[in-house]
Amino acid sequence: MLDVARIRADFPLLGQPENGRRLVYLDNAATTQKPQAVLDAVAEYYRTTNANVHRGAYDLAIRATEAYETARAKVAAFVNAWAPEGVVFTRGTTEAINLVAGAYGRANVRAGDSVVVTAMDHHSNLVPWQLLCQEKGATLRMVEITEDGRIDLSDFGRALERRPKIVAFPYVSNALGTVNPVAQLAKLAHAGGAVVVVDGAQSTPHLKVDVRAIECDFYALSGHKMLGPMGSGALVAKPELLEAMPPYHGGGEMISRVWDDHSTYNKIPHKFEAGTPNVEAAVGLAAAIAYLERVGPERIADHERALAAAAIDKLVQIEGVTVYGPRDHRAGVVSFTYGDIHPHDIATILDQDGICIRAGHHCAQPLMRRLNVAATARASFYLYNGLDEVDALVGSLVKAGALFGYVPA
């Protein structure tokens, strides 16, 4: 286990009481808290380096551009990207996937083609594909999940028989915590002739990620879920695919020469970064990556696995609690229900004890339908959570059980 007390001291917000109690923040799959190093990096950027990037003829602008491009190289190295120019900064995973659907998808998917997603995809890796397929007259095929919350490999194989143009799936399910066999899935999809899009929103913060080992084509990530600022994120892609793609947004920065009625475009990645970029987000994300590297992605993954395992062990001992998702091959996300106590009621009761969890459909309504629930309660862990917080979660749930008459008060 990590030295949680030492790590927590780096996070100013975690020292702030919530409802008069010590804050127990267990909603890390939604967003994460920020260490002082990230807050400092953003402030320092504005204090010493701020200017518009890629266009200044003066030293300050050159330093701003350097800070921005250094951040890009940092992201590239963190996930073992094909090249720094294969990293396009976006507002997050959602924008990155929309970019793939809007640029690669619109250029390559035609009427009668198919696009494959899974029943455990977040709406952000589903709705962009729905929009694309509706526009093109293509078919969207949703791969089923198994009872214990994994991608059904035989259904995945059947979906590939139609030789889809694009196959998209999450590395880690945000609602179930399932860690998918992404390298295996990518290999199968490639054998079927598809381009592979991996939603990395829940894997990049929590696992050691190597996009070249996975052998995907596009990989989307969100900075705010990995200690970075809101509005930071990236699309990591094979440079040759980006080269061949039409632009996504038009504007400044993404052009080479502009005529009255047409333009030529900048080289990658700038072709996909129209307008003034969010430099503070990129700089903050680079600081977040530096923080995660100091702790070590493998150690973070081990720590979260231990917390999730402890939580599941204790939760299943409470009569009436159902934990969703597989028992192994899972990350630090624990989705559960407790008898007929609605997840929102659970969240309200836990909040009184300073415990923040998520209640709802987790932007995965097709998955909720398959689990036959309207909503679940979800606790999701990160490097600053400890076993005492698992105990706090369980203790507060028992309190919820008492209020609803499940256990004696």
Binding site: I341, T348, A375
Partner: protein
């Protein structure tokens, strides 16, 4: 494990009457001869209600609902349908206003006997994110009679 008695604030929120309506909802089901039907959901949390009314002239003769959601939204729906029977539409809309006032902390509304069992929901006003749960069936009602 901590099995100490629940917080006073929480017991105000989750009164027995509320849990009773949640677990044994009154008027749950569909109406044979509904004159007004409306479906509302809260996309943020997924709470759902289908409200059906049978209105004769100006008077609500019967009200039923089907719903899915938290104890607050479902209990509020159950309590509301109890209250609506034989009320005129202006009376029903006046109750909706009283309910909204109670949710926003109006103590006189919380003592208003015309709100019946709904007064048990007065504690919701202390939990701002849950106010929308208690008002969901009432929003369905106003939608139903105004369309």
């Amino acid at each position: 494990m901590d099995t100490s008695p629940p917080e006073p604030q929480l017991t105000t929120l989750y009164q027995e009457l509320i849990l009773d309506h949640y677990r044994r909802p009154r008027n749950k089901g569909t109406l044979e001869q509904a004159t007004h039907t409306v479906s509302l959901n809260n996309p943020l949390c997924g709470d759902e209600i289908d409200l059906q009314l049978r209105v004769d002239g100006d008077v609500i003769k019967d009200a039923r609902f089907i719903g899915r959601g938290c104890s607050i939204s479902q209990a509020a729906a159950s309590m509301m349908t109890q209250l609506l029977k034989d009320k005129s539409i202006p009376q029903a809309l006046a109750l909706a206003d009283r309910m909204s006032a109670m949710m926003h902390g109006d103590l006189s509304a919380a003592r208003d006997k015309s709100l019946g069992d709904l007064r048990a929901l007065a504690g919701v006003s202390k939990f701002p994110v849950r106010i929308k749960c208690a008002l969901l069936p009432w929003n369905a009602l106003t939608d139903a009679v105004k369309t």
